[in-house]
């Protein structure tokens, strides 16, 4: 009978970890695609999420913009105009419009509603991310993954991609419809089709993704550690709500402050997100998928 010492075992596990570093993207994509396929089957998930996107992207903006451009009395327009004068100078310089109603509509469409782009994907993606790893454990399918050739890194990245895609897709589709809506309602008063703006595009492509990735890295870590999906959702709410507030503030500031600020905010967010994502890989272990790790 031979007994391998704990030190020796640790050494060989270290060697294994280095080998496990090789990642097969085909398997990663397989994990992501299967997760997405399940989501597509889950009406109880995507119907509320579609409703959330519809409210933020279509219903609320339509009501407010129509009220401003078609219904409002002069004194209300005056009050809102006064409020707009409190915006930073850089922001005021960006506001366009041939009428006062048009300037207000422009400000609302670009500076108020656009940062919602942060809220919607974060909410949708954290809902997916929170359930993804603990869900494998609860359904017993973690056993299948733990015995499969997929590495912990492939599983982690696959789950991350699967969590990112619904939120980001909702944002892209939602903002496509939003662009159409605000231009149809307010382009006449602004004087031209004005949305999307260059800064908004920078926000979408440069600022939001790292915020989303950072939040998901935390949520996936929680999902790997907690005992139930309900606990994961609660914990994800605690993590993501402050992050939504922070990212909303930063995104709004980036839009208000023209020029480099949007790039700086994005760059900092990317550094933090990459560091957090790299560290998050460690949260997925086969023992956790099986539900037998300490603390699970």
């Amino acid at each position: 009978m031979s007994i391998m010492s704990a030190a020796a075992a640790g050494e060989v596990r270290g060697r294994r970890s280095s080998r496990a570093g090789r990642m097969q993207w085909s398997r990663t994509w397989t994990v992501a695609r299967t997760e997405l396929r399940q989501l597509a089957q889950a009406r109880d998930y995507w119907i509320p999420m579609a409703a959330l996107g519809g409210i933020f992207f279509l219903v609320v903006p339509a009501i407010l913009l129509l009220t401003i451009t078609r219904v409002s009395q002069g004194d209300m327009i005056e009050k809102i105009s006064t409020t707009l004068e409190m915006l930073p100078t850089t922001a005021q310089e960006q506001i366009h419009g041939v009428t006062q109603e048009g300037r207000i509509a422009y400000a609302l469409a670009v500076f108020l509603f656009a940062p919602i782009a942060v809220v919607v994907p974060l909410t949708i993606s954290t809902a997916v991310g929170a359930a993804t790893l603990v869900g494998e454990r609860e359904r017993g399918t973690g056993e299948f993954l733990a015995h499969s050739p997929a590495t912990a890194r492939e599983i982690y990245v696959g789950k991350l991609v699967a969590s990112l895609v619904p939120g980001y897709m909702t944002t892209i589709i939602g903002f496509g419809l939003y662009s159409l809506l605000v231009n149809l309602i307010a382009a006449g008063d602004v004087g031209r089709w004005f949305f999307p703006t260059t800064q908004w595009l920078a926000l979408m492509l440069w600022v939001i993704p790292p915020f989303l990735a950072f939040t998901l890295s935390l949520v996936l870590r929680l999902s790997a550690r907690v005992k139930s999906t309900a606990a994961a959702q609660q914990a994800a709410g605690l993590v993501s709500l402050p992050l939504i507030m922070v990212s909303y503030t930063q995104s709004t500031g980036a839009l208000f402050g023209a020029g480099v600020s949007v790039w700086v905010v994005g760059a900092v967010a990317w550094v933090v997100a990459i560091a957090s994502l790299t560290r998050g890989v460690r949260s997925v272990t086969r023992a956790r998928l099986l539900g037998v790790a300490d603390g699970v």
Binding site: M1, A9, Q38, T141, H147, A287
Partner: protein
């Protein structure tokens, strides 16, 4: 596995566990719940990495070379571990992609054919398009079996494969496992149901509290525990049989209340003496026949021996008076 120990916090799941799984045969891990059977299977594939002891699966250590081991293993866990929201087809396709059966360079029609034939082998092909949530327990187990062998693994591991199945489905699953071994696969099955291990085990490992109490072929182990002969004796009043427990030539005695006695004797020539002694005592013996020890007999004998109760000890015996024993002898 050699001297493998694995702990979950303060609980020792595997305690210096050692056993060998012969290739191309069915090895059954027998043991009560909590004996460490599932943990052993997880250690074999490298899903768990015990810190102590050595493990070789298909020639390599799964803890350091799990990436080489897992693609060659197929596992059917106690719960089927299927994705309920997906169809049967999608479940198999997922496994095919993870195990490299499907992917770049493999024509789609070959993958489709592989999935269909694997499903057909377990009689689940007609239901592949349906969502797994609507499957019966038996169908789920069949799909899990099809998924486990889809990539033609060298080693198939079953963890309580008949759990939750009706007798007919359970029998069918056990037949499929036997067929797999006959087709040249190495099979490890763990169960606490002795009846289902009977007849399919080429090799048994009896586990208790994370340790292997005994390993070997059923015949080897049986000979180890019953080197003599085992006789089943029935009487009109079974409790009257208990007197022979201490008679000369009786190596072991076991009888459940109201049941026939299983008597382990040192040789077949001892049987007529026992019968004559019982008849002389006025016991109305109704049946005497040789008894082939079952896996169940073996299992309980092994566990009793491990507890220090001695080999096949007497249960519920009323010892005969010494002078009466002497006179019979």
């Amino acid at each position: 596995m050699d001297g493998v120990t694995h702990r979950f916090g303060d609980v020792t799941a595997l305690d210096r566990l050692s056993f060998v799984v012969p290739s191309d045969a069915v090895t059954v891990l027998l043991g009560p719940n909590g004996a460490g059977k599932t943990t052993a299977i997880r250690a074999i594939t490298g899903a768990l990495s015990p810190a102590e002891g050595s493990i070789l699966t298909l020639g390599v250590d799964p803890r350091t070379d799990g990436d080489a081991v897992r693609p060659r293993c197929g596992v059917v866990s106690a719960k089927p571990a299927l994705y309920d929201r997906l169809s049967g087809w999608d479940n198999l396709l997922y496994a095919a992609r993870l195990y490299g059966v499907a992917g770049r360079g493999v024509p789609r029609h070959e993958v489709d054919q592989r999935i269909r034939s694997s499903a057909a082998r377990f009689g689940i092909d007609a239901a592949l398009e349906h969502q797994v949530a609507g499957y019966s327990t038996g169908m789920k187990t069949r799909l899990a079996l099809a998924r486990a062998v889809l990539h033609e693994p060298d080693l198939v591991l079953f963890d309580e494969p008949t759990s939750g199945l009706d007798p007919e489905s359970a029998h069918a699953v056990l037949e499929l496992i036997t067929d797999m071994a006959a087709a040249g696969r190495t099979v490890v099955m763990c169960t606490h149901l002795l009846a289902e291990a009977e007849g399919i085990a080429d090799h048994v490992v009896v586990l208790e509290a994370g340790s292997a109490l005994v390993t070997g072929t059923p015949e080897e182990v049986t000979r180890r525990y019953w080197p003599g002969d085992l006789v089943l004796i029935e009487a009109e009043a079974p409790d009257q049989l208990d007197r022979i427990a201490n008679w000369r030539g009786v190596v072991g005695y076991d009888r459940d209340p109201g049941q026939a006695a299983r008597v382990h004797v040192d040789g077949p020539g001892r049987v007529p003496d026992l019968v004559a002694g019982l008849v002389a005592d006025g016991v109305r013996v109704t049946r005497v026949e040789p008894h082939q020890p079952t896996l169940e007999d073996l299992y309980f004998a092994v566990r009793r021996a491990a507890r220090g109760d001695g080999l096949a000890p007497v249960r519920g015996v009323v010892p005969a008076a010494p002078e009466r024993i002497r006179s019979v002898r």
